[in-house]
């Protein structure tokens, strides 16, 4: 049974003290009594009380004087003034001095029950809130990223150090783990924060388009180049250039990029003039660059150039302790965005979130919560509204790792294909359903050579 709050009854009449103490003890409270103000202060100096029931008229020190002292000695204790003289002046004075409320003697038992009940409930909630806040304070933060996981704390620590330098940072991690957010955070913490943060997704564009996107072009450089245009390297001058999906660039662009990183100068497409560049490169990929190097599809010299400070974001399934915190974080955002009075997710829904494997990582979590927030009929999101598929039944262990990897890849290929078909190849809708962004979906379509007419 939960220990009940302690109450101090201060009254000069013994029978009042005894009877009131007995009445409150029947509710399970720990009750102590004091016959006058001085005795009350002595008790307050020794022990913490949740509630003080103080008679207004007492010889020597009166109730208001006890109230004033109590406010200083135990500001968290709620003081209820009991008075036989129902004057507005007294009530106003008591409330002004910080009394929780006052009761005119004799009062209805119901009135006292309700007041004490409400008070203890409020105090319980306040205590709970303080504990929750303390628990939340234990989280680590890096700009917009929050976490309670020791793995992420290490990531933030490394990113914070990296931010102070001008070195290239290579952010590794699965889709949806927050690579771009981390890149933005590094930029915002870096000495270049006054400059622009320019992002480009290397997987979304064809080789020639990406080339022009990165380096710009001169008029007439290619069909349709009616005017000259600055590339991202120029736009990002003085700031940071975020090269997402760096593992997907073509061998030609890998070489171009290597030259820029080495010489810190480049030419626009179709241009002859060398342009000096002053950007800090932040690159990211969800692919295993080392393997790509080994297989020869990624230049090793570029890899070493990029891999100055590698930071790896763990997948959400490896930091499940962050799920409640992230859910709260996203619900706060969704509450504002949707103007819906969302209070949280039910205990069962949270259990479901914790049990799920999150292949789409944090982004998928946000999508699931957004869907839940839209569907929620009340302020609490229930499991039904999350529309989360139950955890997949365990796949029987295959003999060789490669076999597992192949079957997983095949499973992913089929799943993506089916989702695209289901959404009539609408990339936005399919990406949302899969819990990945559009770029990643394009990337996967390319990788798996999926075609609409299949």
């Amino acid at each position: 049974m939960k220990a009940k709050a302690s109450i101090l009854v201060v009254d000069d009449e013994e029978i009042v003290r005894d009877s009131l103490a007995r009445w409150l003890e029947e509710d399970g409270f720990q009750v102590e009594t004091a016959p006058d103000g001085h005795a009350a202060l002595a008790r307050l100096a020794e022990q913490a009380y949740a509630i003080l029931l103080v008679d207004l008229k007492m010889p020597g020190m009166d109730g208001l004087q006890v109230l004033a002292q109590a406010r200083t000695m135990q500001p968290d204790a709620a003081v209820i003034i009991m008075t036989a003289y129902a004057t507005v002046d007294t009530a106003v004075q008591a409330m002004k001095q910080g009394a929780y409320d006052y009761l005119v003697k004799p009062f209805e038992p119901e009135e006292l029950s309700l007041m004490v009940g409400k008070l203890t409930k409020t105090q319980d909630l306040r205590r709970e809130n303080v504990l929750l806040r303390k628990a939340l304070k234990r989280q680590c933060e890096f700009k917009d990223l929050v976490s309670k996981s020791p793995k992420m704390e290490a990531v933030f620590e490394l990113a914070r150090t990296a931010a102070k330098s001008n070195s290239t940072v290579l952010i590794l991690g699965d889709s949806g783990t927050g690579k771009e957010l981390l890149a933005r955070a590094i930029h915002a913490e870096s000495p270049r924060r006054g400059g622009p943060f320019v992002g480009v997704s290397c997987a979304a564009l064809t080789e020639s388009l990406l080339e022009s996107e990165l380096f710009g072009h001169e008029k007439g450089a290619f069909t349709g180049a009616v005017g000259s245009a600055r590339g991202k390297f120029e736009i990002a001058a003085g700031g940071s250039l975020f090269l997402d999906e760096i593992g997907d660039i073509s061998p030609k662009l890998q070489l171009d990029l290597l030259r820029v990183l080495d010489a810190r100068e480049f030419r626009r497409v179709g241009g002859s003039q060398l342009i000096k560049t002053d950007v800090r490169i932040l690159a990211a990929t969800n692919r295993d660059l080392k393997k790509l190097v080994e297989s020869g599809s990624f230049r090793d010299d570029l890899y070493y150039r990029l891999n100055v400070i590698p930071v790896t974001l763990p997948p959400l399934r490896e930091r499940k302790e962050d799920i409640p915190l992230l859910a709260e974080h996203f619900l706060t955002q969704l509450r504002t965005e949707m103007g819906k009075p969302l209070e949280g997710v039910s205990a069962e829904a949270l259990e479901m979130l914790l049990a799920y494997d999150w292949p789409g990582n944090v982004r998928e979590l946000r999508n699931v919560l957004e869907r839940g927030a839209v569907l929620a009929r009340g302020p609490i999101i229930t499991p039904l509204e999350l529309e989360l598929a139950p955890p997949a039944s365990p796949v029987p262990l295959a003999g060789a790792t490669e076999e597992v990897a192949d079957s997983l890849r095949e499973m992913e290929r089929r799943h993506i294909g089916a989702t695209l078909k289901q959404h009539n190849w609408n990339i936005t809708h399919s990406a949302k359903a899969l819990g990945i962004d559009r770029v990643t979906l394009y990337n996967k379509i390319k990788r798996y050579q999926l075609r609409e007419d299949e």
């Binding site: 029978i15 009042v16 009877s19 009445w23 399970g28 009991m82 004799p106 009062f107 038992p109």
Partner: protein, 187 residues
């Protein structure tokens, strides 16, 4: 010896005693607590319990009277009265008890009224009296108020509350009562 290890029920009213009613309550008390219960000739109301300005009797003073007149060795003494009871800060009380103590008192004064302040049927009054007797005796065994509104140990601030509860303990209170009784009796 009469009263030894027994719950004693004694009439402390202004009106005449209804022995049949008290006997029925006694039987129920005995059954519910599984403890011997007896009726005892009352010691009467104390001379100073009436507060003339309020026209009510101080339950605390009646409790003190019960304590000073209790036969040695009595397990519990429950006074039953027909006068309206109060404690100084409250407008009324249905009864008062010493938590984990010897004495308790219950009044029928407010139990006799229906919601419209008209006299309630005698069967309802009897049911209410039994509940309040079990409630106050529950306190003397060490039980505190229960949050289950149907449990006899839930707090009653009105006859409505009394009518809502059963003449018995909820599972938790029954278990607690058993533990408290064993604790008192020792291994």
């Amino acid at each position: 010896m009469a009263g030894q290890g027994t719950i004693l029920l004694q009439w402390m009213g202004e009106g005449s005693i209804n022995r049949d009613l008290l006997e029925r309550v006694r039987q129920q008390v005995e059954a519910v607590f599984a403890f011997p219960a007896d009726l005892r000739e009352g010691a009467g109301l104390p001379s100073d319990s009436l507060e003339p300005r309020r026209g009510q009797h101080s339950s605390t003073k009646i409790l003190r009277r019960i304590l000073t007149t209790a036969p040695p060795g009595a397990a519990k003494v429950l006074g039953i009265t027909d006068v309206d009871l109060f404690i100084p800060v409250l407008t009324f009380v249905f009864g008062e008890a010493q938590l984990k103590g010897l004495a308790a008192v219950v009044s029928t004064a407010r139990l006799r009224l229906a919601y419209d302040e008209q006299p309630a049927p005698s069967s309802l009054v009897e049911a209410r009296l039994l509940k309040e007797c079990l409630h106050e005796l529950g306190h003397t065994f060490g039980l505190v108020h229960c949050s289950d509104p149907t449990c006899v140990m839930s707090r009653s601030n009105s006859v409505l509350d009394v009518d809502q509860k059963r003449a018995g303990f909820c599972r938790d209170c029954r278990q607690r009562l058993r533990a408290l009784t064993e604790e008192r009796d020792g291994p």
